[in-house]
């Protein structure tokens, strides 16, 4: 493993330096049929789950096959995608915001050969490399974060939870059986890198125990005023402790004020809060971003805590499956999960899903909390 220089000279970092060139211009990467009909599309149809045709004013058609991916992928898999794209799609492909890969062709026959090829490819362990689906009134691929694979603040894993949820809901990814699209997201802590706060179903990793204070190291590793200022509830204050006759500048935490957001840990590595029993998942439902029919809305917490049960999180998958099944059976056509819950009323949501309503589900965080309480005798028994 001898070091191979790229040409970069560490003694003269500015020599031949190229910077601020940004991304490649997307126009270089558009397939010809896309480039030729840019801005001139007439309509589209979903021919079957995962397969779309877009028709242009010119009469040109582009057939798209959408495949789910794990998002975390190897370059060996990317090279295989390139091989597929070279074979069927003249060397073009694209990815979607929801971690799908899309292969496009300009005729129906080519699309059928492409789809068959994609579905024939499996990993050694038996799972599909390129499951086709994720369109229309189905469950699309999950937007998610890093989890235990690569992050320092997670309260759960992301890749693993996504895998087990999608395994369980696979038929809904490859089908169009829902009343409306169902968008699921996983965030492994409250930072929500994926900003999943407006998803039909949001899986959010949460901590439940206050930070551990590493008194002997804190003052060396953290700016105490920043750690104090980081706490949204004012639970952190400067303090001193004596350990083995030695004085240390540190912080103290008013535990009853801690809401376990982890923001202090983000600012100060000497305040870790992860814990096997303390950490787990809050399940939120009923958010949406689209402006269709009703306005965008936040997801709401309906299960305050589900324990981490790696590797296959059975309680989590069972809870989600139950919500999906009840929604599927009860909602009207075009009705998103949140719209359905509002129409039937949240009291009915808990009744129909059998989920227990607990005090944890009543908001007590700042002003917006009040607006979620019921100031009316309009409710259902």
């Amino acid at each position: 493993m001898a070091f191979v220089s790229s040409g970069y000279n560490p003694d003269k970092p500015m020599e031949n330096r190229i910077s601020d060139i940004g991304p490649r211009d997307f126009n270089e990467f558009l397939p010809p049929v896309i480039k030729n009909n840019y801005g001139k599309w007439l309509y589209h149809e979903i021919l079957e789950p995962g397969v779309l045709v877009h028709v242009a004013e010119s009469g040109d058609e582009v057939y798209t096959v959408r495949c789910g991916t794990a998002r975390l992928m190897s370059i060996t898999l990317i090279r295989e995608m390139c091989e597929v794209a070279d074979k069927h799609c003249d060397g073009y492909l694209r990815f979607t915001t929801r971690n799908n890969v899309e292969f496009m062709t300009d005729s129906k026959d080519k699309m059928i050969a492409l789809k068959d090829d994609l579905l024939s490819r499996k990993f050694d362990g038996g799972s599909y490399k390129f499951p086709v689906g994720g369109t229309g009134a189905g469950i699309s691929n999950i937007v998610h974060t890093q989890g235990w694979v690569h992050c320092h603040t997670p309260a759960t894993d992301a890749s693993g939870t996504v895998k087990v949820i999608m395994d369980d809901l696979f038929d809904e990814f490859t089908g169009h059986n829902m009343p409306a699209p169902v968008r699921i997201a996983v965030a492994c802590c409250l930072n929500m890198c994926g900003a999943c706060h407006c998803s039909d179903i949001a899986v959010v990793g949460i901590h439940r125990k206050p930070p551990i204070i590493d008194h002997e190291y804190l003052d060396n590793l953290c700016e105490i005023p920043l750690a104090v200022a980081s706490c949204p509830t004012g639970a952190v204050r400067p303090s001193k402790v004596e350990i083995d006759g030695k004085q240390f500048k540190t912080v103290a935490i008013k535990e009853e004020r801690c809401m376990f957001c982890g923001n202090c840990y983000t600012m100060c590595p000497s305040l870790p809060l992860s814990d096997k029993e303390g950490d787990g998942i809050a399940l939120m439902v009923g958010g949406k971003v689209s402006n269709r029919i009703s306005m965008p809305k936040f997801s709401k917490v309906v299960v305050a805590f589900i324990p981490n049960e790696p590797p296959r999180w059975p309680t989590l998958t069972k809870t989600i499956r139950n919500i999906v099944e009840v929604y599927k059976a009860d909602a009207n056509k075009y009705e998103r999960l949140g719209d359905w819950a509002e129409r039937i009323g949240w009291e009915r949501f808990f009744e129909k899903t059998g989920i227990e309503f607990t005090p944890h589900l009543i908001d007590d965080f700042r002003d917006p909390a009040y607006y979620t309480w019921r100031q009316s005798t309009q409710f259902k028994f």
């Binding site: 270089e28 050694d124 229309g136 169009h176």
Partner: protein
Amino acid sequence: MAKHKTPLLDQLESGPWPSFVSDVKQEAEVRAKNEKDVNYQIPVEVCEDLLGVLELSYTDGETHWKHGGIVGVFGYGGGVIGRYCDQPEMFPGVAHFHTVRVAQPTAKYYTTDFLRQIVDIWDMRGSGLTNMHGSTGDIVFLGTTTPQLEEIFYELTHEADVDLGGSGSNLRTPAACLGMSRCEYACYDAQALCYDMTMEFQDELHRPAFPYKFKFKFDACPNSCVCALARSDFSVVGIWKDEIRIDQEAVAAYVGGEFAPNAGAHSGRDWGKFDIQKEVVDLCPGKCIKYADGKLEINDKECMHCMHCINTMPRALMIGNDRGASILCGAKAPILDGPQLSSLLIPFIKVEEPFTEVKDVVENIWDWWMEEGKNRERLGETMRRMGFQKLLEVTNVKADPRHVQEPRHNPYIFWKADEVDGPWERDVNEYRKRHQR
């Protein structure tokens, strides 16, 4: 023979959904064999050790990645995320495991030539593992060592002609939906605007000068496929102002059952015959659609631009011709003051090259936020703290009923001196001439 036993992760190889465990194992094997004779610049066992440390997390129920670390490339304040394992002796291959964010082409179209070029760099100088893509949109290269960072940057810029993305208190890599490239709903060229603004603000993207992160997202229509108004500080959402175009023959084809409603999105279930009254007219939030005597009429003045009728009958209804975008500001995830959606600032703006009008709005917002924003305060939080009126003031936007869901519930109005007639400062002695103590 695998370096570490991974009985828990092995259980994630079964089931139909693509298994990341199988994929990482596949990469580990490719690296171990090294049939292409790659001169690996980081430990060959990096993938094995990643599985090992992940297995340990599955056992412990806790992460094994340390808190941050300042690493990067010369002259940039972002684009690389430092990451170190907290059990480096057990897993030396991932002792350093830094992330490199690479700027993705807008709407994520690729040629296989380009993809091969960048993965070849990552093969030799990184773990061979990626995210396609990160939540904000970047190509994410997962796991390399500190000495490789400048080398990777040099090869990306010199050979692949591509730059790093954003991280830290910077402009983050902007993202757009696929817009006009493959969608009939696009009200403006989201890709062109996204690319243009990404290039315009490269300095803001690479050198931290903001109170906190700042995200642009561009949706070309109110369906919001990149979720701009939930996920970006500056959300540009396409909209039209005039009439929805109607093809009455195609409406009849939907009613007659020749065309599947909603482009076939509900094909998996028998929802019965398409009922235009129930499925379109009754669901319209503006209550502005009428269907009588085989003719569809829309009172466009009352249209809420929700897209439902267009989505349901895409061959019969088309967006209007007077197109542009709405600009909304301040969305963010829950940390710290709870989640926020973007709030409407500009109901309609024309989006035409060179996009000066849109850029002016951004620059006015930045001037204000950089002056007033506290450390680690997102724009949405500054807006809440300082008031929406302040945002109107700094962007020179006139107040409009569209800015609110309803007017305020209290008369605690912060009147300013110049809004009130007569002198603002008053003399108590003059007052006492009229009123005894």
